[in-house]
Symmetry: C2
């Protein structure tokens, strides 16, 4: 009976911890829910930590102190991340995805739950220590990856719009220069969406010259919000100056003058 109980507890704990990632759960909460003593649950957590390490299923940490407890963080091992991205790059390169104008069709990849979840896990893994209060993206294509990143980090996702909408309430609008096209564009964010003094992680789908990313950074400074990082799914390699620095992209693409495409995983991983 005792043996069955530990089995049950371990399965339940795994589900409860992994479905609420990056959140500190007190042992007392689990004690009550699962009818076990704290010492028993501590042993359970030790077992789980080892299992998660062994199979590369994420990181389980014990956080000490008054607000302490146990916390699960989705995390992909470097070799798993490289294998995933290498496979993705090879798929992107082999399939017929080139569009007129040197664009690459990515919309399917960017909204597949399984793929975006993995991307979000890799990005989150780089920025847990920076402890952003929210993830910011610009509509539309980056939303799924940004949401999955936010989920891994247990913070809200905030979506900047191309124009202010009646159902967003009063908004701050900024104009920015789209880096590649050179057009003036507008970016809008509801005043309620963020609070002064917060920290923000920018996540978006594509980095070319960096105009949109620079726009998001400028928008955040209007709100007195600190940008602690910028991450992208894909970066377009180019000789020219990029408008933002220290951006982390999961993949880099390049197109030769003959129209030949190469896609490579990030070298910072």
């Amino acid at each position: 009976m005792d043996r069955i109980k530990r089995n049950e507890r371990l399965a339940a704990l795994t589900r409860l911890l992994t479905e609420a990632p990056n959140r500190i759960h007190t042992l007392s909460h689990f004690c009550e829910m699962l009818g076990a003593a704290k010492s028993t649950l501590s042993e359970d957590i030790d077992i789980l930590r080892d299992v998660f390490d062994t199979f590369g299923l994420g990181k389980l940490d014990t956080v000490t102190g008054a607000a302490g407890g146990v916390r699960f963080r989705p995390h992909m091992r470097r070799e798993d991340a490289m294998a995933f991205l290498t496979g993705l790059c090879s798929d992107l390169q082999s399939s017929n995805r080139m569009l007129p104008g040197g664009f690459l069709y990515l919309s399917d990849i960017l909204s597949m739950p399984e793929i975006t979840r993995k991307m979000g896990t890799i990005i989150a893994g780089e920025f847990y220590d920076a402890a952003p209060d929210f993830v910011l993206t610009m509509e539309t294509k980056g939303i799924p990856v940004a949401l999955m990143t936010a989920q891994s980090m247990d913070v809200p996702l905030v979506i900047a719009r191309r124009s202010s909408k009646v159902y967003e309430g009063s908004a701050v609008n900024i104009n920015y220069v789209s880096g590649s096209a050179g057009h003036i564009e507008t970016m809008s964010l509801s005043r309620r969406a963020v609070k002064e003094g917060q920290k923000c992680l920018i996540v978006d789908d594509f980095l070319k010259a960096g105009g949109t990313a620079k726009g998001m950074v400028d928008l955040m400074s209007e709100f007195n919000v600190e940008v602690v990082g910028t991450a992208f799914v894909m970066e377009r390699a180019q000789q020219g100056h990029k408008l933002i620095s220290n951006a982390k992209a999961l993949m880099t693409m390049d197109v030769t003058e003959d129209g030949e495409l190469t896609v490579k995983p990030a070298d910072w991983l």
Copy 2:
């Protein structure tokens, strides 16, 4: 040692099954990965099924036949779903969310990972049997809930746009009448995004007169895709005729002539 091993297997199995929902995993795959016999793994699965049932953590099914195996489906018990939605309705009603024109500020709720994950779980629970090949939404605000629904069902998310974009390739555009405003609007979807003969679940944030939803249904008929269901986060109660029928909304809102807001959980749950 044997006892430790079962513990480890149960924890690993829980994580592996729940992070790849609605997918049939063969026992042989787990046998190889975890170094256990099929009979042993069958016992493990029986234990997990009971634990998941006991704590309302989702459903574990054994699928028989040649392509058989074990499948985890996120599922929220009726009472848990009602408690979640009742709490959400009460939050929405008590906070100062009314905007000029009778609009309700929902953008924060609609992009919080934890909230949208639960909404996606409830919606998916209603449509597993309909077995859609993908989830369709219209940009922008419904994307997070639609993605979470797609994740629960292990199908791709497809996003219709307000206009065709160069990086989406050739597209099918349709015009539709926005039900509440009466404007003519355009909706666009890349030709590559879906295949003839597929089945689609429509998920969006807000149902008023149903113009946008009707547009999505019409768009699907252009692709010869069958719509197997329509689900919304919020429905605006109104006497008038709605342009689509059989829609399932998680919550219903009403605003009296005095501007008083009521928000209630769905009665179909």
